[in-house]
Amino acid sequence: MNSRRIVIDPVTRIEGHAKISVLLDEAGRVAEARFHVTEFRGFEKFCEGRLFWEMPAITARICGICPVSHLIASAKAGDAILAVEIPPAAERLRRLLHLAQLVQSHALSFFHLSSPDLLLGFDAPPTERNLFGLIAHHPEVARAGIRLRQYGQTIIELLGGRRIHPTWVVPGGVATPLLPAVRQQLLAAWPQALEDARTGLDAFKRVLDAHAEEAAIFGTSPALFAGLVDTAGRVEYYEGRLRIVGPDGEAVAEGLDPTRYQDYLGEATEPWSYLKFPYYRPYGYPDGAYRVGPLARLNVAAACGTPRADAELTEYRQRTGRVALSAFYYHYARLIEIVHALEQIGRLLDDPAILDRDVRARAGRNRHVGVGVAEAPRGTLYHHYEVDDDGRLVRVNLIIATGQNNLAMNRAVAQVAAHYITGDDVREGVLNRLEAAIRAFDPCLSCSTHAVGAMPLVVDIVGADGRLVRRVRRDPAATSR
């Protein structure tokens, strides 16, 4: 046996700690490829005993890239525990904050992390393939990306008091109303942000044809796609119902209540990664692999619902077909979502109702369970809390967007490895393509490995013939409180 294992350690220009391993057989063919996530923190356990009021501020620390998504999902779980309807202005302000984060996070993913591959080339010198290389070779694109991210971060700072981990979103609403002068400042900077988004989209479209090979093999294995949509089937980030479509675009399930996620999502573990493997329960593991995030959202939705984004979506679908399978198109979908988010930010800021000073509903604990769900930049995010009579957490359950792409990311790595690697001569640029396939998903491992599903424990006893002999099931609801 003359097999050889190639290890990429660490995977760089992603948000998190990971390695990739590729096992070659004696003939130098790829026998196995894996994406190993190497970080775990354990929020779900150590948050027990905390008051649910504290959870937005604590769970924001799960992730410095998308703290706002955790604030939103956590506060929504808190709203459910309070059993209140939050004031309309509070919902508008939460949406505004969340869209701002989508803009900054997507800008980070495209400009700061992935565009060096796309604009400098997958085979460019590794020392140059980063933001500073981009600044040196494409200063205008770099400047646009930096400014675009800055616009999102500035909205967060001016609304929430600080750019990272603002504590402004609270159960019942938000802490303070929007000041008219801040609204004017954000509206004044809006046209430049839209222009910067256009710069990114144009730059991407210019290089799209040159990357036809990568687009063809960056994770095209058929899988389900899941995302929230509104009542008209449009992309929805703050609330809505879950829609799941197959690789042909046909709905597998729709109108799912995301707060009942436990009915249809399961989580598997593998011994070689801290990142678990969520799957669509009716299809089982691993056949129930599904994808979330920008690509999935554009695949499940009928439209975005704003003019510029919908025009871009039409052109996108001309290139990709009604359902985009390749993970390479995550970049494209992300750029369209930036345009969509900016248009919605413009609409929210234009509406004087955003200045209403009634922004917080006040109540105490009225329910023992709350589930908060939102579409984070990387996909659907679930916060599930169970509290005692005093509002102390007895069980915390988080399902983070990135985990839901774990099966697809592994398949993408295997597909790219099988395509590019033959024999022992493995060029650096080939290894970079393996990483680039992962980057396309924009995984946030900082987040994802803090997630623990409160799924029932199911043990399948399988006979030597592969048939299920017996299934042992333990429901956590029966063991908690």
Partner: protein
């Protein structure tokens, strides 16, 4: 920790890299944390463009160098020491870096990352990979997946730290001030300890 050499620090004044017309060899390191400190570094916004000609980013999650290089001038270390991989990396970082900056509250105190200490790694792993999994075989045990340490500790519990840069995260303004001071060969003024 006592037997490790203390850092000689950056040359001062006219010997500073900037004064010699050299670029600062900067590394950024991410241990157990949320990446918020790295995000705050990117919040330098257009000041990154001004910084670009003055630094070489020789190692970072934002760059593609896989091995921590020799002769690093300044390393910003985010996060607490929480896994066997972190431990291995921080020893290398210390041995090859002149000025090691504890970058943010997790690096300075352990902060949120250390909140699992009263519970311990076995219980958090049990919860994540046994009690709540619906398929699979328990916690990771592959050679490529690091072990959780029994206790999460701040960086200075493992290696000497030269500069403290607290905050959750430190603001971009403070990061910029520290980098500017280090570029000029001045001892950085971090504005005193500030948490949260």
């Amino acid at each position: 920790m006592a037997d490790l050499p203390s850092s000689p620090g950056l040359p001062a004044g006219s010997d500073a890299p900037a004064a010699r017309g050299e670029r600062l060899r900067l590394a950024t390191v991410w241990l157990g944390g949320c990446s918020g400190c790295h995000m705050s570094f990117l919040d330098l916004d257009e000041r990154l463009l001004a910084l670009a000609p003055r630094i070489d980013l020789v190692y970072s999650p934002l760059a593609d160098i896989k091995t921590f290089p020799a002769r690093v001038d300044v390393a910003l270390v985010e996060g607490a020491v929480a896994t066997s991989d972190h431990l291995e990396l921080i020893y290398t970082v210390r041995a090859r870096t002149r000025v090691l900056v504890a970058f943010g509250d997790c690096a300075v105190t352990g902060n949120v990352t250390a909140m699992r200490n009263p519970i311990g790694p076995a219980a958090v792993l049990q919860r994540a990979y046994v009690e709540t999994a619906s398929a699979g075989a328990g916690p990771p045990d592959d050679v490529l997946v690091p072990k959780l340490l029994a206790r999460v500790v701040p960086v200075h519990h493992v290696v000497p730290v030269d500069v403290w840069l607290p905050g959750c995260p430190p603001s971009a303004d403070v990061i910029y001030a520290v980098l500017t001071d280090l570029l000029a060969g001045r001892p950085p003024a971090t504005g005193g300890l500030r948490f949260g």
